[in-house]
């Protein structure tokens, strides 16, 4: 590999922004992380025309990180839960933040995680006390103006139960590189739902990581619908017995959108379970690429892992590459994967039209129905309706 790829050139204005950022949000380690971001390859340089994102393609001259407004946060009623912006959390609850920060996301482990962590200019912290179970979700809404580097950290203590809903909206031309980190201690049950509906000329790079403790569960429900370019990395590290991971992702590039998703569940101990469900459609010249990793370590016996990934192509020029990748080193496990790629089924369309339903309406119903098994995993009826409405708008566009 030639070293002349010119990695490591940290733009000066990014370097200079770090001290101001860290004075406001003293998350620490920024210099090293920024250097790391520009020294790592993205891992996405493989020779394939649909595998296109790299930091080298991002014009950082136009990215000016400054402290961004905190997200809007809505908390449910009930004891034992609080949520606040990251700045406040680092001032008032620094020990709690320190307990979770960087324990489920390897901040220096990948290019985009390092970039987002180094330039963090807003964020939120959600904390749920042992055995507490708030009555509704914690809702966090980001509004990306120019460059947004949000860090959302969630800590559930032993036996706690909580749902976090993150909504990502923004202005035209926004650039977002964010991290979501979820720590669920023993027996806790965490659900993290994220709806990204940025304007179609925005760019979004997300790194999400979860760490379920013993008998704990972490559930991801992610919908990537906006932005011209989305790179979504979702990792769950199962390092405790009895832990459960659930990963649900749906995405739908239309027009000239590109979406790149990698989900990884690593079973490092046995007697754990994971379910991954990915539903993607593409229309217009939409392009998407999905890589679904399931890793089962040699000693992780009695692991039960399943990955299902369905892709629907709604136009001739749309393209979805789908690669389920199972690395199984243990011999006493249940591991399933299934993948389909297809167009709308003419028999289904005929069946519906034979009932008087117009062809276009039939196609819309079938396409929306295709996503429905994934939508049903999302928490809260209002959020599901939001996802459906956003999908409907894209189908009918």
């Amino acid at each position: 590999m030639p070293s002349a790829i010119a990695l490591g050139a940290v733009p000066g204005h990014l370097q200079q922004s770090l001290s101001d950022l860290d004075r406001a949000i003293p998350i620490g380690g920024r210099d090293a992380l920024l250097a790391r971001a520009f020294e790592l390859r993205s891992g996405r340089e493989k020779p394939n025309r649909f595998w296109k994102i790299d930091l080298d393609a991002i014009d950082f001259a136009a990215v000016a990180p400054a402290i961004a407004p905190p997200p809007q946060i809505r908390m449910p009623d009930g004891r034992g839960v609080f949520a606040c912006d990251l700045q406040t959390a680092l001032r008032d609850h620094s020990e709690l933040v320190a307990r979770a920060l960087g324990t489920a996301v390897d901040r220096g482990g990948s290019k985009f995680a390092a970039l987002a962590s180094a330039l963090c200019n807003t964020g939120a912290f959600v904390y749920v006390q042992a055995d507490a179970a708030p009555g509704g979700p914690v809702e966090i809404a980001y509004d990306a103006g120019g460059a947004l580097f949000p860090y959302t950290l969630v800590l559930l203590e032993r036996g706690a139960e909580c749902t976090v809903v993150e909504r990502m909206h923004g202005q035209s031309g926004a650039f977002v590189a964010g991290v979501s980190e979820v720590v669920a201690e023993e027996g806790a049950r965490a659900t993290y739902a994220a709806l990204q509906n940025l304007p179609e000329d925005a760019r979004a790079l997300f790194t999400r990581g979860a760490r379920p403790g013993k008998d704990a569960s972490c559930r991801w429900c992610v919908a990537d619908l906006g932005a011209s370019l989305t790179v979504e990395t979702i990792e769950t590290a199962v390092r405790s017995r009895g832990a459960q991971a659930e990963v649900t992702v749906l995405f739908f590039p239309t027009g000239g959108q590109h979406v790149d998703v990698i989900s990884t569940v690593s079973h490092e101990v046995g007697e754990s379970q994971s379910r991954t469900l990915v539903k993607s459609a593409a229309a217009g010249q939409g392009q998407a690429r999905y890589l679904g990793n399931i890793r089962i370590a040699p000693h992780a016996q009695a692991t039960d892992a399943a990955l299902r990934d369905d892709a629907l192509l709604l136009s001739k020029r749309a393209h979805i590459d789908s690669v389920p990748a199972l690395e199984i080193a243990a011999n006493d496990v249940k591991a399933y994967h299934g993948a389909t790629v297809g167009a709308l089924d003419e028999e289904q369309i005929f069946y519906m039209t034979s009932r008087g339903i117009e062809r276009q309406q039939a196609e819309t119903m079938i396409a929306l129905g295709f996503f429905e098994p994934a939508i049903e995993h999302f928490p809260a009826n209002a959020l599901r309706e939001e996802v459906r409405a956003a999908l409907r708008a894209k189908v009918n566009a």
């Binding site: 289904q348 005929f350 034979s354 009932r355 008087g356 079938i366 129905g369 295709f370």
Partner: protein, 256 residues
């Protein structure tokens, strides 16, 4: 005066380059039950699909009119809106589309805006009860994971909810146990007894006469090798039950 009825004249249909229907003449009267019988492969289902407009069935020549309207000039959805209904032998499964939503979309398409949501709900409940079906059906995905019997019941529920002018039942009896068969018979009777369906004409396609113990046919048409070879009253079905199609083949052979 319009020509009432579902009228098929000298219909020739190809499927994948094979000439299947070789000149069908058939007239289904409003309010009457016609049985179309014949051995497997005689072209009965081809007739059903050609009438409803399946893209794989190519009409070579001939005509079909529904109360005077040229069916072949219409796409499938408009044929349904004109009043035609097909109960599929193998209905498509559509995951993610709930039965209730589908039924509502179909009713809205065929009879736009005739019921408020609450009245539609009441209609659904009434039809479910008539068909002895669990309301839990409504929340399931369309035909997804349904047993054969459940699929046929759902076809009958759709027929009841839509209330078509002409209903073709394509082997709705096949693969059904006695109870399910009785339910099919009852759903036809229920539609005929309803205000929407008292003028409905039925074309009941079957190769086995036992469905006709539950639904009495006013006329029986026998199709062999893409042609209607014999027509008669209900007695013709009983004869087929006794003798099979072989007796008819011999008789036709003698005539030819």
């Amino acid at each position: 005066m319009t020509d009432r009825g579902l009228r098929i004249s000298d219909l020739h249909v190809d499927v994948a380059g094979n000439h299947i229907l070789k000149g069908i003449d058939l007239y289904v009267e409003p309010g009457r039950v016609h049985a179309l019988m014949g051995p497997n492969g005689s072209g009965k289902s081809t007739l059903a699909f050609a009438l409803t407009g399946h893209p794989n069935y190519r009409v070579v020549s001939g005509s079909a009119t529904l109360d005077g309207e040229d069916l072949f000039a219409l796409p499938p959805d408009k044929r349904a809106r004109a009043g035609l209904f097909l109960s599929f032998q193998y209905p498509a499964a559509i995951p993610g589309v709930k039965v209730a939503n589908f039924l509502h979309a179909a009713r809205q398409a065929v009879r736009p805006g005739d019921l408020t949501p609450s009245k539609f709900r009441a209609l659904l409940m009434e039809k479910l009860q008539t068909l002895d079906m669990d309301p839990a059906f409504l929340g399931r995905y369309l035909n997804d994971g349904f047993s054969g019997g459940e699929k046929k019941r759902l076809e009958m529920l759709q027929m009841a909810v839509i209330g078509p002018k002409y209903a073709i039942l394509d082997e709705t009896d096949s693969g059904l146990d006695v109870d399910a068969l009785r339910a099919v018979g009852e759903s036809v009777h229920a539609l005929r007894a309803s205000e929407e369906g008292n003028k409905t004409g039925f074309l009941i396609i079957t190769h086995y006469p036992r469905i006709l113990q539950h639904i009495e046919a006013d006329a029986v048409h026998v199709m062999i090798d893409g042609r209607i070879v014999k027509e008669g009253a209900a007695e013709l079905a009983h004869r087929i039950e006794r003798e099979g199609y072989e007796g008819l083949r011999e008789e036709i052979g003698q005539l030819a």
